[in-house]
Symmetry: none
Subunit: 251 residues, 2 copies
DNA sequence: TGGCTGCTGTCGTTTTCCTGTCGGGGTGCT
DNA sequence: AGCACCCCGACAGGAAAACGACAGCAGCCA
């Protein structure tokens, strides 16, 4: 078995990276190089081994030599299309889990049949953190029985990614989807300080238009919900740079 | 003896690398790779070991080397047909239980399949949760004498999968087949939050068409039936994400 | 065969509440 | 003090969910 079993412990991604025996191996297949590279880069930042392919044929070659633990596969490819790639992957006997990328339109219907298993799909344009979250989930599940809940923890704040329960000192917080994603990203990277641009780039769909103060706003809302029943502030502003979540600000 | 003897009560509770129960071993035989693959993926998602075969001859080879605990067998195979495979399996002395897949029409097939030693059958296209439910049942039955009922429980809601009785605080609910399946899936995965896409993909037949609000609708109907005689709501909406069934989280 | 019954999914309306924009005022740094 | 920078109240537009009404259909029984 591969290193997958190590995934999903309740530790921050940063720390887990060093505890993991082997890196997760990710193959990204997309004919749009910027997108493929974006995903690969984020994955590497997370401590994974990532390889890209820009065509279907290329994907098969890479898969054979790289033996990925998981594949991100765009369905819209120039030569062999996504289904063809999947077909030939399966015929070669590999059960590697796949997360599909599709355009907004009707192709999603055809994907449905393929994703029932536990593979997954995402509609373009997607948010990078959401893709990473799905990949982690698929990996955790395919690691077999004995998979554990993924619980993030910072001080007395906990987030269960499966039940989507977020608690501050046992008090349940009710978060909107956006708030949940921002908080998840902050917690995963804690105690790293993140710029607003980073947060925007990871949590919002790539290609999200206008500069705006959405991040500030969401952080503000998060703070109110987190602190309204007391407790020290956990999200700190690093003026002129960004935000961080951790027990206390640097003195 | 095979790992079946190890199977405890609720098949789904088989966890923990330390309590180490062996994984169920499933062989899927279907000449349509996407289908075989689909089933195998779902099974692995549940923590089983799954292997696929795309032809009758292949199936026999795999069976010999893999020694499955249960087999899913399509009747329509290019070379040796399903019955042929079954016969030769039996001749080699294995009593491994078999669940057949048949096309929509073959009423004759059903009877024949059962009388020739098959343990259950399902008509294509099927819903993956229904297939998994049947497999679990067959496994429990063949696990030996004194097999126990599978009863799912969430708060004061119970579902007996064998009798199909669903009770809310001892009051018997009358559910339609679809409602039953949706509720079963929610209960099995409780307290995980499931997206509408997941529910659709698992409970409806593969190949079910696109956009619709069926899931919302069935959930709405379930809620009415569950709550009409009082009691706290158990199915919760996680706005922007999906549904979950559980006792209302504290506070 | 034809009516009856109950199940399922579609449509359209209503309701809920999420999200991003704007702008005034506050805060910290130099 | 002056200037960025940040916080956050208020609000509008719109997305998501709940649900009533209805039509197609399958199974059943006479």
């Amino acid at each position: 078995m591969c290193s997958l079993c190590e995934l999903g412990s309740g530790v921050h991604g940063r720390v887990a990276q060093y505890e993991r025996v082997e890196k997760v191996r990710l193959l990204v297949v997309d004919d749009d190089p910027p997108i493929a590279d974006l995903v690969a880069t984020v994955a590497r930042y997370e401590g994974w081994d990532a390889v890209t392919a820009y065509s279907g044929e290329d994907a098969l070659v890479r898969a054979a030599e790289f033996r990925p633990d998981i594949v991100v596969l765009d369905l819209m490819l120039p030569d062999l299309d996504g289904f063809g790639v999947l077909d030939r992957l399966r015929h070669s006997g590999t059960m590697v889990p796949v997360v599909f990328l599709t355009a907004r339109d009707g192709v999603a219907d055809r994907v449905a049949g393929l994703t029932r298993g536990g593979d997954d799909y995402l509609v373009k344009p997607f948010a990078v953190e959401e893709l990473m979250a799905r990949l982690r989930t698929v990996l955790r599940r395919s690691a077999g029985p004995g998979f554990q809940r993924s619980v993030l923890r910072v001080a007395d704040l906990t987030m269960d990614e499966d039940t989507r329960e977020v608690r501050r000192a046992d008090r349940l917080l009710s978060l909107t989807p956006t708030e949940f994603e921002v908080l998840r990203y902050l917690m995963r990277r804690s105690p790293t300080v993140l710029t607003k641009a980073q947060i925007l780039d990871h949590v919002w769909e790539y290609g999200f238009g206008g500069r705006s103060n959405v991040v500030e706003l969401v952080v503000s809302r998060l703070r109110r919900k987190m602190d309204e029943a007391g407790g020290e502030p956990l999200i700190h502003t690093v003026r002129g740079f960004g935000y961080v979540i951790r027990r206390q600000a640097a003195e």
